[in-house]
Amino acid sequence: MDTLTLALLATLSPLPAFFVALVLLNNRPSMAQAVAIFGTALALLGSVGLLLQGPTEPLRFAWFSSGQIHLQFGFLLDGMSLMFGVAVALITLCVMIYSLGYMAADPGRARYFAMLSLFAWAMLSFVYAVDLLQSFIFWELVGLASFFLIGFWYEKPEASAAARKAFLMTRIGDVGLFIGILMILPLTNNFDLPALLDPDTGLVKLAGPALSTITLLIFMGIVGKSAQFPLHTWLPDAMEGPTPVSALLHSATMVAAGVYLMARLHPLFMAAPDTLHIVLAVAAFTALLSATIAMVATDIKKVLAYSSISQLGFMLMGLAAGSLFAGVFHLITHAVFKALLFLCSGVYIHHFATNDMREIGRRGGRSLGATTLGLAIGAGALAGLPPLAGFFSKEEIFAALGHEGSTLFYIAALIAAFLTAYYTARMFFLIALPDEVVKEHHDDSHHGSPQPIVMLAPIALLAIGAVGLGFFGAAIAAQLGLVPAHHEIASMLPAVGVVILGMALAYFDYGRTAAPRRGFIAAVPALHALFVNKWYIDEFYRAVFVRLNDALSALFFAIESRFFDDGFDQVGHSAIRAGSGASRLQNGWVQFYAGATMFFVGLAALYIGLR
């Protein structure tokens, strides 16, 4: 098949699935599921086909012209997009298959699968977009699809609020992104990515000093999408969505879009050192911040959510440190193992109907053996335990940070890695090694098997990925057209050290038989409270921004009703009053009439006479 067909297949095929599932098959969920999975499978097929064909010239088509803008749409088929496209399609498909089990009892699953298709379409189109504006459009649509998915159970007020929050927080970032993109246009008159990135004729040359501003604004969008501080708070809340959705959104796709965009525009960022410093600082701070929160969270999805934020910080650090490969590599490995972790947690949640790790553990989480194994692999990968995938990709990031020579950030990353290892292990220990196990007679009849094959198969697939992907670093680098540096064993030591240290501490706190089962941080109550309350950031936002917004809208509303509405009414009333005044002249007394008349006649005569 030719490239265009494949590209169309890879991007467009979920769209008809979305439409059909939503509009035509709304009352036939099983057919809707089939259609959706078929669509995504086709997309996977397409993307794999593209990958096999290897990088080619971008395909471009004119889209619209207005004034001096000439926009095009098309497909950018370089190594990064090919690789990432496959990852997206694959993980989406995994999640869909998994959802067959997870959502089996939900009456609205036709809508669910439709929205997944919509999501797949938007995300894949985003990945392959050749034009920055095209990227933005699908970036927004990704946000929209995730809005619907997070708020899938819209009858739950929390879910609806979470969806809203996600949409708004990312929108705030998008404003920056949008401005940034629009600032590019006058400089280049088009948004063609290869042209923009061209080192000789691209934006780097054209923008000059404005480049810092532009990249910073674009980074704002990335902050929103990839849930970096200070716009990260939507992501944990977004866990209100169905767990497979979390797996999808917070592993390979939605949040990855930000990192992907940064990777896409990496040359631009590299040319703007000021921005890079800010990126590094924000990412490092985010990584630390969210790791500390994850340390004390008890909700398994919250832990995973904060770990996502933290890992995204890692990726951005890697990119900002100058290593495209480090960022992308971690992005891909993270996609796999985080999806794995979410899917595993989904099994627990589905089965035990709770998110609380302690509760899961107590009620026999480890009895779900396959899942617990998956959890162990995922957790290991996340913690960066060699030789799992996470180890290699994180190692690249450390190397990049070390290479770049910013000791401060290197240390920050180490601490974050330490914390990651700690809370990951904590999670695992809480589930797998509870202090007591309450045997309960679980009535499985209405649930079916706790680990149906449709749920286990994706887990297995991803687990394999999480184990093996680390060894494909060179291949991935090759796809990116890079040659990964060889790392000395010695340079790996600090990283491995902190990981082991973290896990050990977690074992000391939670794993061993006489463990206190409370984190070491509980020793410092102030910090503990800070972490448990997520650094009070939500409260701060509520107290400042939400209230500011409310106050402003109240102010404007008051202006509207007091000044404009009442003002109009006042004008009306004074007209009426003027009317009654005027008609009071008409007092019914004929001589007054005549007198007034003659008075004015006299005035008129005087006017003429005196001239």
């Binding site: 005044g581 008349t597 006649v601």
Partner: protein, 470 residues
Amino acid sequence: MSDALLFAPELALIVTGLALFACPIFEFRYRTAWLLAAAGGALSLAAALLTIDMSGQPFAVGIYRVDFFSQFAKAALALGFVLVAVISHRPETLDRSAWVEFPMFLLFATLGAMMMVSATELLTLYIAMELAAYPLYIGVALHRSTGNGGESATKYMVQGMIASAVSLYGMSFLYGVFGSTYFSDFVQQLPAATGQPLLWIGTALLLSGFLFKLGAFPFHFWTPDTYQAAPHEVVTYLATVSKVAAIALLCRLTALMTDVQITTLLMWLSIAAMTLGNFAALIQQDVKRLLGYSAIAHAGYVLIGVQTGAQLGFSSALFYALGYLVMSVACFLVICEVGRDSDLISIDALKGLHQRSPLMAATLLIGLFGLIGLPPTVGFIGKWFLFSAALEQGQFGLVLVAAANSVVALYYYLIVLRAAYLEEAVDAAPVSVSPWVRLTALASMAMVLVLGTFPGRFWDMAARAAQALG
């Protein structure tokens, strides 16, 4: 013979008038007199249209001129008279003992109006003016009610007499300044006399008689009171034929003797009239009274055209006069029909008119839309011409004031419309509308709309008429 032809519109009325005079003597029924009057009016209208292109002086040289202007105005007057005559097929609010004579009064008033527009000499003008006025004093006084009829007539007449005395006094000055009563002499001697304040005082005073007929500020006081408590049919006449005659005369006199002092005065009068009329109308509860105030406001609008002192202004004023005639007929026709049994008509009495008589409601709608100045009625295009004429003189501010005024006016017209069209009836008994009135209603609606959408022909006529003013 040709003289008789020139005088044909008036002659038709005179002949009919004599026949009408015989009606009470031979104790004919009202129906006969009514039919006779309508037929006479139609005849006169036909005659006016027939002679519209003629010009000449049927009587002694200089006192009476027939030209396009006069015939155009006469056609309008005759049209108004016919419409009013048809509408008053059962003038219940009129003293029943005077029914048979009633058409005669209207007819002679019309005759007076016709003579006014042709008169080119002060004495003729004066007597024509009085001929046009006295029958209306009588008509207003012939209200059946034992309540306010007399009051209304008294007020009307006191102010009318004062206005005519002022007018007469003004004529005396013109007589003195020019030493003649002939307009032709005026024109001749005007250049020499422009510096005379007495000339312009005389002119201003002379105009007051017509301002009174028009109901313009400061001679507007009679309008609401008289409209409210005079017999509906007489009010209809006052609101239509009378106005046309007054506007025509104002045009003729202003065209004759234009001076910046007079036009400035008229401009201020115009502003005062429309502002006062519109604002005072806002709080009215009685429909006829409200329309009285609206008439004051419209007098103000028409004066916009007159005060330009230019041909475009006169033609726009004449065109508006024609439009105002048909719009008013449409409105008052409804009032005559709906208010047949009551002396006073409050806005509430119109409630649910669309159920009681869709035709009447539609007529009122079209009429009021016209008065508001909305397309596709003649009110819109009429205002367009008027404002355009003022802007030709660069009077942007005046137009702005007038336009703002029309917004104020909107309110009270809509209140009336709302009652008629949009509210449910209290008493849903259908209004019985005689076929004649039906026809008149349709005709007036058609005229309002046709004049509004295809104004070309009529505008050309008005322009020609203004041209004839010289």
